[in-house]
Amino acid sequence: IYVLSDFLRGQHLFSHLFSSRVSALSFRSTPLRFYLFLVKAELIGWQHIDFGFEWRCTSISHFGMAIERILKDDASEEKGERARMASFVGAMAIADLVKTTLGPKGMDKILQSTGRGQTVTVTNDGATILKSLHIDNPAAKVLVELDISKVQDDEVGDGTTSVVVLAGELLREAEKLVASKIHPMTIIAGFRMAAECAREALLKKVVDNKANEEKFKTDLMKIAKTTLSSKILSQDKEHFAKLAVDAVLRLKGSTNLESIQIIKKPGGSLKDSFLDEGFILDKKIGIGQPKRIENANILVANTAMDTDKVKIYGARVRVDSMAKVADIEAAEKQKMREKVDKILAHGINCFVNRQLIYNFPEELFANAGVLAIEHADFDGIERLALVTGGEIASTFDNPESVKLGHCKLIEEIMIGEDKLIKFSGVEMGQACTVVLRGASHHVLDEAERSLHDALCVLSQTVNDSRVLFGGGWPEMVMAKAVDELARTTPGKRSHAIEAFSRALVAIPTTIADNAGLDSAELVARLRAEHNKEDSNAGIDVISGSVGNMSELGISEAFKVKQAVLLSATEAAEMILRVDEIITCAPRRREDRM
């Protein structure tokens, strides 16, 4: 009783001492409570430890050594310097991993899945690499999952590698500053000032050609080519840049990439890829139905075409003769026929269903001369409804209220070995399909990712037509501005600002390194060039020297660069603020052996 009461008092005291902490942790097991008590006793130098209690303590003495045991089994805690180190190291490791994929001469990675099938992906796309990594380090996860590369990929579509590399470099610099006894908060303040200044420097240099359509289109071409040059499509970048620009221009300013459909068909080479207006569905036309329809009225539906069953379990009919069974069967058939008749009453000549169309309705459709497509994938019908301007219907009682889709021509086409159905002249003029051809699935998947990046960037640029040069030019411009800011800023913050500029320069350095060039030499020359007014100098990876970016036609979208700058800074800031990492105990799996 003495022990217990003391224990209770002790816990009270303890919680008094560390009130905030204790509330955050949960101790369930009794031995742990004893342990806490012991800790408390030591902490306040309390000598009145009961003998019985000591005996109990020895029985659980193994708790005495590991301080982490405050938390549940398997949970751990890292504090202060160690926590910060762990986050720095983790974030930098991630940055180093994707670093080599940066730039036109960046290398690819094989992603080997440990799951079933051991599928292999070959990619150069930062987002894909990061998304599929096993990451244990929490700070690294911040870089990958929480915001940065995912947001970058979803919103702007490109520059994921740049974000991670820049964030990694910022942290590398911050680590040095922390080592020289500068408070993380001061560093953060400096970084913020620097980021703001860098953004303004970029804003001053942007070119906006929105007014001039001709020039705008060349801008788009340049951006597409720059984006694609670091990808697998680099050899045919002219072809694909044109393809992407055409596709995006069809969108007429909307950023809805849904209406650009990408179909991958193995075989042929990348150069055989093409852009087709309209929509292509990877399905077959039913037997005995027309293979070509002009001025089609399309009904897109998601409905079961078999008999509408009574959905109560155990429902059954009782009859007393075979003839009645036959009658019921006939009635069921009749119901199917009625449903088909209702559908036909819409005045359609093409019916696309998400679910199966069975033999009987298929024949009915064929008799009516209607083209029926069964079992279209969900994505397919949603898109089809979107592009043909129809609605997905599931009841057919009111033909007036159902919106039909329209298109000028439906026909069967052959790509490679497969037959597909093409809907051309669709209502939504901006819809188009890119058919990718390539040697293998690896190539096709990678090509799709690359094209997706290019499409994202382009569609963003159509809305925000501000354009910058590429090839390390924006980083040098920013670095120059940030350097100047550092010189005029008094106090410790200037160190942080200077560090920011060094981190910026790391991007051209990496591009040069990846290309096997002498980065120190090149970057120094680049810096010298940029000291002149209005320089367009950047790294020309192909010739391995400093070149004029406007002549080489290397451009990037302002929006991408801005997103890179801001998200990298934010990520670095977030990680810098960390001073403790608590790892929770993993949830136990019951079914494990």
Binding site: K284, V319, E332
Partner: protein, 533 residues
Amino acid sequence: MAAPAVSQLRSSKTESYVDNKRKEDVRQANITAARAVADAVRTSLGPKGMDKMISTASGEVIITNDGATILNQMGVLQPAAKMLVELSKSQDTTAGDGTTTVVVIAGALLKQCLLLLSSGIHPTVISDSLHKASVKAVDVLTAMAVPVELSDRESLVKSASTSLNSKVVSQYSTLLAPLAVDAVLSVVDPAKPDLVDLRDIKIVKKLGGTVDDTEMVKGLVFDKKVSHASGGLTRMENAKIAVIQFQISPPKTDIEQSIVVSDYTQMDRILKEERNYILGMIKKIKATGCNVLLIQKSILRDAVTDLSLHYLAKAKILVVKDVERDDIEFITKTLNCLPIANIEHFKEEKMGYADLVEEVSVGEGKIVKITGIRDMGRTATVLVRGSNQLVLDEADRSLHDALCVIRCLVNKQFLIAGGGAPEIELSRQLGAWAKVLHGMEGYCVRSFAEALEVIPYTLAENAGLNPITIVTELRNRHAQGEINAGINVRKGQITNILEENVVQPLLVSTSAITLATECVRMILKIDDIVTVR
């Protein structure tokens, strides 16, 4: 602005490659693994190439010479090696033939790349140069090619037999090659002369007999028996054929049903009703004059019952049941008829007509043949025979390759010489081109040219000839302008290969070069293997 200064300042390290150990290791490992795969299939190249025996995980044994099949069964784990397997698959889909060639070329290219890498050239430079070289190579090949007309049956047969000559079934190439040509030509639609859908050619395998008995059937072949009770028909002349998607058996509803029998007299009545129901159906069918029924397989109920078979036999209607739903399209296309899904729609205009439907005993089993089809659709059926399952499967694969070869010719109507002639010519012309190029590019293109010599080298090696003598002589002959000189494996010497009728479609060669290059470039650009979820 500083153009002269830039060129002057260009550091000596341009295009050089400094890398750390790990990346080099990864690349080395990838290349080594990929080359190991290439070496495994190397010996099966060419008419005197050897076969591989593969014992699969399920204990089955496959004997084959087909590169794609070997690689597919190998079950490689290393990612780069897997890419080579994929490579041969893509060659299979694009061209259908040359699956071994493409892997051997990729292996040789990788070997050269290893040398280039070790001399410190940046992988991307190698990769770009390879691309350039492959584009140039395709140009050279196209220039070498001879146009061919589809009406020129002889040339088509020649190229099909070239493909077949390297297979296990090579001794039957005189039979199979014309067969493949006829099959493909019979499905070519005059409206779309450059498209061939190989799904319009059905290959039916039947054990027994020898490959010699393989035949092309003008009509349909079902690998199943005619369903008949005693006294049923097995032969029908002047057949009126209906493809039905309903069943001739007692009715069954989608909703669960049960028949309540309360006394004995009812039972009799029910039996009678069942009989009447079936009889009614058959009468309706008979009324249209139909005498052959092809019934689609259904998982819900029996296609026919003993009772209905009995009545059908009485009505003199021949029945083939359990036709797969996937085959319906092919069948209706061939018979030029429409499937019938309900007895109510059983109309004469939906039926197809044939001179003869008969059950034929073949080896152990029986097959149903439909011949003399009126207004037959553009399809073809090939009945492949073989003395055992292994030969049968291999014959099927070889025939598929031959069909693909002909299809390639239909798509791209050009022929090119075989027997290593195009490769050595490429090697020569690219070698000359490399001398004009500047910098690293020239160096890499030269390696590309050297790598291509692997094909004649391996051909000679596999045929037991002295590869070095053969290749050097071949080079010599080509240098003298005999661009069609190639290795005549049968005679063991160099001859004009076009005269020897060793030809192959241009598409096979070009796609082998482009696909191999694309794959090698991809492997080169990899610097890390990351394990992911």
